[in-house]
């Protein structure tokens, strides 16, 4: 079991460019979460899928951020027109029976 796999581990984008982050949840896990981690805010919830359906995106910035889960084996988080304040570690997690497991994250740096 390789755990939750996130790619890339590091990404540097120029201001205004698009960034797509990938997550492969643990096989058989029915829920997938996206979180953002910064020093100031800590770990912030972004969005959540259950059985591939979007359940709660209350933490997602309404503009420029979108997440999808086209099949049970991967989810993507897309940030359009990236801004320096989007720089953070983006963590994906999957869950089964209440136990949540995190990937190692993608460190996004917007320059």
């Amino acid at each position: 079991n390789a755990g939750v796999i996130q790619t890339p581990r590091h990404k540097v984008t120029g201001k205004g460019q698009e960034a797509t982050l990938w997550c492969e949840p643990i096989s058989g896990h029915s829920a997938v979460f996206w979180y953002r981690q910064t020093i100031v805010q800590g770990l912030e919830f972004l969005t959540y899928f259950r059985n591939q359906a979007p359940i709660d995106d209350s933490g997602m910035p309404k503009e420029r951020f979108s997440a999808q889960m086209p099949n049970q084996s991967h989810s993507t988080l897309k940030i359009q027109s990236t801004q320096p304040q989007d720089s953070a570690v983006y963590l994906c997690a999957s869950s089964l029976a209440g136990r949540v497991f995190f990937g190692k994250g993608t460190r996004l740096t917007v320059v």
């Binding site: 029915s30 805010q41 959540y48 949540v100 994250g105």
Partner: protein, 114 residues
Amino acid sequence: GQQVKQSSPSLTVQEGGISILNCDYENDMFDYFAWYKKYPDNSPTLLISVRSNVDKREDGRLTVFLNKSGKHFSLHITASQPEDTAVYLCAAGASGGSNYKLTFGKGTLLTVTP
């Protein structure tokens, strides 16, 4: 406001002592409580969790205490070791089916000195 709060950003304990990490929450709907350990540049790893129907759970050197009326839970680490040094995150969630959307505290850096 912060729904889950860790009031101590840092804690230093001597080797062999008991480390006590605290967490307060606001949401009455939370029924799942967990502690995660985070090394630098690593993802949070689940240490121990409880559901709201118990007040205490032990696992080796770790014990979590839940005080529902006080909206407070804590993690006790006995016989603390230098390798316990890390950031500890508390988390709480409300069950939505069998999966929990977790809200995290900002973390407490525990340093265990030899």
